[in-house]
């Protein structure tokens, strides 16, 4: 008999309140910790999820309270997928890799726009979809098995 690979799904919903992003980050950290990931990878996932939820609150909802942000974590075989969903203003330009500046020119340093870049750097995939008044940023991180010393 073939045993279906284990799939675990956890969904957390918060209101569009920046103070509650830490709760989602804590859930991300807790779930990532159960995947035998290195501490640096766990921190990466917490950061990427926090950036995505910040984006939903600050940009999709323009920092207005009372809106819903739903974050769904799906662990399946060798990957962790995180969907961050909102029903606010859709992003018109999703370019997670577009980020550059001259570090020698302090007056032109970027203060914003780093979130998507960070997500693009940290996650193996980041796909943004918007349809029927729902926006979903799907981020995937592959889980490499830890090497065990012989």
């Amino acid at each position: 008999m073939k045993i279906a690979p284990e799939k675990r799904t956890v969904t957390i919903r918060i209101e569009s309140n920046l103070e509650d992003v830490a709760l989602v980050g804590a859930v991300a950290r807790m779930l990532a910790s159960r995947l035998s990931l290195a501490e640096a990878d766990i921190g990466d996932i917490e950061l990427a999820v926090s950036e995505a939820v910040n984006n939903a609150i600050l940009h999709a909802y323009r920092d207005e309270p009372g809106h819903l942000v739903e974050v769904k974590f799906t662990q399946q075989e060798d990957e962790l997928t995180i969907d961050v969903c909102d029903q606010g203003r859709p992003m018109t330009n999703f370019e997670p890799t577009a980020f550059g500046y001259d570090s020698a020119d302090p007056l032109r340093l970027p203060e914003r726009g780093m979130g998507l870049f960070i997500i693009g750097e940290i996650m193996d995939e980041a796909v943004y979809r918007s349809s029927r008044a729902k926006n979903v940023l799907t981020m995937t991180r592959r889980i490499k098995p830890r090497r065990v010393a012989p």
């Binding site: 920046l18 103070e19 992003v21 830490a22 980050g25 501490e39 640096a40 921190g43 990466d44 917490e46 950061l47 926090s50 950036e51 910040n54 609150i57 600050l58 980020f99 500046y101 570090s103 302090p106 007056l107 340093l109 970027p110 203060e111 914003r112 780093m114 979130g115 870049f117 960070i118 750097e121 940290i122």
Partner: protein
């Protein structure tokens, strides 16, 4: 957010006492730094040794403070933990700010 400040000669040491410098406190932090700069503090050592987590908004607030100095001062950073240093490296901000392992290291480098 909780911040501690102390003056060592012309150096202002600002210690963040919170565990997080994130989007929920970035504006407050930026305002506090602007107050320091407006009253004439031009050389600031930001001690983040107690901070576990910084997101891009928190980092943006630090960058904004540096820009507020308009090239007539500097912000140094000490005590960045591994996860926080990762953010600085990802965004190359470790090339923008002079970073030290500890407050004492930073003070020694300045003297």
């Amino acid at each position: 957010m909780q911040i501690e400040e102390k003056k060592l000669g012309n150096l202002l040491v600002v210690t963040i006492l919170d565990k997080r410098l994130d989007a929920s406190v970035a504006y407050e932090f930026k305002s506090q730094m602007e107050t320091f700069i407006s009253r004439g503090d031009r050389l600031i050592l930001l001690d983040i040794s107690q901070v576990d987590f910084i997101d891009s908004s928190g980092l943006g607030a630090i960058v904004s403070s540096l820009k507020r100095l308009s090239g007539r001062g500097d912000i140094l950073i000490s005590g960045a933990r591994e996860a926080v240093m990762r953010l600085f490296k990802l965004t190359r901000m470790n090339k923008v700010f002079r970073m030290f392992e500890s407050e004492n290291d930073a003070i020694a480098a300045l003297s």
